[in-house]
């Protein structure tokens, strides 16, 4: 049974630069699963939390333009970054509830001959994979199970909060479930939905490092060999600063971090290069070699 679903795909700014591997692997595994992702034409930055901190209405406008373009394509929007998910969903939600806001945005969009009627749903790729593709289909695609690979499933703050009704808000399980379907062993990870610090690494490094340290500590204490991520900012934060954490706290962390799409790709038989794993900052070679055959 070949699933075939069509979505517009919104990569988000962070996938263009430092996190191209996420984009690469996401497209690859989606294709394999029959999820057709067409990149949203000429999409603009969603604004994330930074824009909203300065300008409220223009921030909503940024989302609205993307949603308007997506609506034109008559497809729902798939994102891979929870910050984009939250920002776009937030605008969608408020425009739906607040008539005055809706009208203000509508009149602004009109200047570019755009309109948005509120029909687009924004979803994270993980949620689409787990809810739409499902266990059966995914297991048939697994040619190289990640047997006994101990993974800490890391969700970060924004996957289920505030709009995520699709999973438990404090202790989500969607990624754990997917990892099991790939043959891996998700470890108990009580801090799975706690903040990595994200932008704090730039604005308040000591606090950011403390948060990353807690996460790495908790993951390794529970036996994790690597961390699975679903957010590009969480990923880079966890990956790039382990050295700084070690220096500050006299620890010796060296935990490889992999995108959930990369883990899926490995299980489906793709190579490290195809999935962009070779671009990683902390090598996962040893860990994967132990657990996954012929990588």
């Amino acid at each position: 049974m070949e699933t075939h679903m069509e979505f517009s795909y919104y990569p988000g700014c962070s996938l263009e630069g430092m996190n191209k591997a996420y984009d690469k692997s996401a497209r690859l595994v989606s294709k394999t699963l029959g999820i057709d992702l067409t990149e949203l034409n000429d999409w603009n930055c969603c604004g994330a939390s930074a824009y909203m901190s300065i300008q409220e209405l223009r921030a909503h406008l940024l989302s609205a333009r993307n949603l308007a373009i997506a609506e034109r394509e008559k497809k729902d929007l798939v994102v891979v970054c929870p910050a984009c998910l939250t920002t776009l969903t937030k605008s969608n939600h408020y425009m739906g509830e607040d008539l005055k806001l809706r009208r203000t945005i509508a009149s602004a969009l009109k200047a570019a001959n755009l309109q948005y009627l509120g029909t687009v749903k924004v979803r994270h790729l993980l949620e689409v994979v787990v809810n739409e593709i499902g266990e059966q289909e995914i297991k048939t695609k697994v040619t190289r199970p990640l047997t006994s690979l101990k993974v800490a499933p890391y969700y970060g703050c924004q996957f289920t909060r505030p709009f995520g009704e699709f999973d438990d808000k404090e202790f989500p399980v969607m990624l754990d479930t997917l990892l099991k379907w790939l043959g891996a062993e998700p470890v108990n990870f009580p801090l799975k939905a706690k903040c990595c610090g994200g932008m704090l690494m730039t604005t308040n490094e000591p606090v950011g490092l403390g948060l990353v340290r807690s996460l790495l500590d908790c993951a390794t204490q529970n036996g994790a060999e690597c961390i699975a991520t679903i957010c590009p900012l969480c990923h880079i934060t966890l990956e790039a600063y382990q050295g700084n954490v070690n220096k500050k706290f006299a620890t010796s962390f060296e935990v490889p971090t992999l995108y959930f799409t990369q883990l899926m790709g490995l299980a489906f038989g793709f190579s490290r290069k195809e999935l962009g794993i070779n671009e990683e900052l902390i090598s996962s070679k040893a860990v994967l070699a132990r657990r996954v055959e012929a990588v």
Binding site: C13, S14, E16, G17, M18, N19, K20, D42, W43, N44, C45, G47, A48, S49, A50, Y51, M52, S53, I54, Q55, E56, L57, R58, L61, L62, R65, Y94, E97, D98, L99, K100, L101, R103, T104, I105, S107, A108, L109, K110, A111, A112, L114, M199, T202, T203, N204, A240, N278, E279, E280, L281
Partner: protein, 109 residues
């Protein structure tokens, strides 16, 4: 929460040396100019304005990223940037002429 941040920035009530407002303002400038935000230029600009010495500390990180082909230097300007700017303009005009700004539960006017 966001309203407090906005008011802080608008009335200059931010802490001396706080990086977050600089980050947000730079972010906004880049979006308004290019439509997308390239991470490295963003970080660089912010650090230059707040803590230039940190750039030196970041060089080893930067090198690592560069060697793995993860360093985009040039911002991608979206083709619809003028259209986006037009929309922003239209909204500002509407606000100036009195359309209510911001989420308030409204009635059909």
């Amino acid at each position: 929460m966001y309203e407090l941040k906005r008011l802080g920035v608008e009335f200059g009530l931010v802490q001396e040396g706080a990086v977050a407002p600089v980050l947000s303002k730079t972010f906004v400038d880049m979006v308004d100019k290019y439509g997308r935000v390239p991470e490295i230029p963003l970080m660089m600009t912010v650090l230059l304005k707040t803590n230039p010495l940190r750039i030196l500390k970041m060089i080893p990180h930067g090198l690592k990223l560069f060697l793995r082909g993860r360093m985009p230097f040039l911002p991608h300007r979206i083709s619809g940037i003028s259209e986006l700017q037009k929309c922003s303009g239209a909204m500002t005009d509407a606000l100036v002429s009195g359309v209510h700004a911001g989420p308030v539960t409204g009635e059909e006017t």
